[in-house]
Amino acid sequence: MALTTLWDVAYFLASALLTLVGRVIPPLAAPLSNGDVIWGLSALVFGAILLAASMINTIMLIWFERKMLGRFMDRRGAMHVGYAGLLQNFADGLKLFRKNTFKPREADELGFYAGPIAYMVTSLLMFGVLPISTGWSDGSLPLSMLLALVIFSFAPLFIFISAWSSNNKYSLMGGMRSAAQMIAYEVPILLAVVAVVLVSGSFDLNTIVAEQQNYWFWGPLVLAMVVFAIGMLAEMERIPFDLPEAEAELVEGWNTEYGGMLFAFFMLADYLRALAGSFLIVLLFLGGWTLPTYVPSALTTFPLAGIFWFLVKTYAVFGVFVWIRAALPRVRTDQLLRIGWMRMIPLSLAAVVLAAALVLVKCLPVFGCIPSMGG
């Protein structure tokens, strides 16, 4: 069996494991070779691989940000635990894990505990539909991009629930800002996505990447990409749009009352969302795991080349976000909303019109001839 898709790998691992158990304990051999059992276990293995991949990437992303931000500030960032501080985040996580979680007396118990967990879970859920290479997901989700965006926009709900249940005015203000901001920027993001859909003709992320075989979409859709990236910045609540947790005004924003593991959930989920946002930008505009055809084939045919190039692109995109974080000041709430409603939405509408025009006059293949855009 050729192990070309992630599901094949999971299935192979699961059946190998079950066969092994069957060998060691003969009476179990018959029930374990049942197809449903193998299928169930491979589903678990599949999920575990996705979970591990997203978690490890997220933690590396945090490391990447700490190192890069350090350079921007003329310092070094984490450097002691592991080589060049690679394991620092694991150490930090362990520390948070060991800490006592406490709850304010007046807080609402259900919302207080359920909020961060739901936030974390929905953030993780996104990685079930985001393919990072061919064969990563089996292509049976024709609306995978919509699904990813829908899961992405769950966040303000759970943030607001945890903020409300914390029973703290700073948390509440942070939560309200967060909700307002995410709703405001959801619109331009979706409009920018419409432009992508017009050009690619599909809601399936795999198809969208396949359509970029000839030219990456950032060429024709540069306006949409800018709008999408700025919208993503706001959705991720990163500087300059991090006012839901503006430390100078709101202590720590909507997660003020959280400590220990629950706080770690919030942090992790924030970075999971940052990772997912970078994934989306790479998938929609930067050609996913494809490389331009003039690149020597040695660079694209080694094992796991797709995943490698995808991650390189993702980290580059995230690097730009870190750069923005290092350089720009935080905007005010009114400025944020004004940018969202009065600049982003017209720009994204213009992007949609532009994309439609490009499709109508059928001049898209032109972009395939420009070397820097692939093709």
């Binding site: 310092r75 350089a327 009114d334």
Partner: protein
């Protein structure tokens, strides 16, 4: 409200360009600059006083930290070269905080033990007077500034410990203030001297020689004076003006003065 802000911004020439492009450029430049080596000195592993940073690390104004700037004038933990210390006590005399004790170190003879300074850094104010006073230049101040200890008694640095500092060959700062040539000399009130040899014995530089003098003839009716017929002669060029002889003289016949 928003429009007002915009006008103000435009008046200051700060549109999007000033708010986005410029900071992005500045940040990118900083990133490139520190890509290879950020300015941070990784403190416990690298030290600013390390000569390899001289002239390289710069303070905000662009001046290099180093030569003639900070470290050449730094007064940190003392280094003591036990081998050249002559036990003259001058360091202990000059200390305004009385934090120097002279303690016995191996190397002297039993009759004449060798004493070297022991400094209590709990009291030391790093004034550098001791280093200035040391005639042999064996007590100097280094650039070492780390003194954290867990016991108060560890703040007391024995001569041996300061000798270790000396052997680490940190940049050292012999504090020598410019001052006029010392015209003071040890003078002898000869009629009082009993020739006891105490001064000569305790002189750290052995610059006192006891010379024979003619036996005095007692005046009629008096007993002959009970003394040794010797008198100290002090070699001024070797004398470090420590005053040890003055303090050990049982007859108080030595005193500070100038040769006439």
């Amino acid at each position: 409200m928003a429009a007002e802000v915009d006008t103000k911004k435009r008046a200051q020439g700060e549109g999007d360009q000033g708010l986005i492009v410029k900071p992005m450029y500045t940040a990118a430049r900083q990133f490139m600059k520190s890509l290879v080596r950020p300015s941070t000195i990784v403190y416990p592993f690298e030290r600013l006083e390390d000569p390899k940073f001289r002239g390289e690390v710069r303070v905000a104004s662009g001046k290099p930290i180093g030569v003639g700037e900070v470290w050449d004038n730094y007064r940190g933990v003392h280094a003591l070269n036990i081998n050249t210390c002559i036990s003259c006590n001058l360091c202990a005399f000059s200390c305004p905080d009385l934090c120097i004790d002279m303690v016995t170190v191996p190397g002297g003879d039993p009759k004449h033990p060798k004493k070297c300074p022991e400094i209590d850094y709990g009291k030391c104010s790093y004034c550098g007077f001791c280093s200035d006073a040391c005639p042999e230049g064996c007590l100097t101040m280094t650039t070492r500034y780390e003194l954290s200890v867990t016991k108060r008694s560890d703040m007391v640095y024995s001569p041996q410990k300061m000798f270790d500092q000396f052997q680490r060959k940190l940049p050292m700062n012999p504090i020598r203030l410019a001052r006029p040539a010392n015209e003071d000399a040890i003078l002898l009130d000869a009629p009082l001297c009993i020739g006891c040899n105490a001064c000569s014995r305790d002189c750290p530089t052995n610059c006192i020689t006891m010379l024979d003098i003619p036996k005095g003839t007692p005046k009629p009716g008096e007993k002959p004076a009970k003394r040794i017929w010797k008198e100290p002669v002090i070699n001024d060029s070797d004398c470090v003006r420590c005053g040890t002889c003055i303090s050990v003289c049982p007859k108080e016949c030595l005193f500070w003065g100038t040769h006439t």
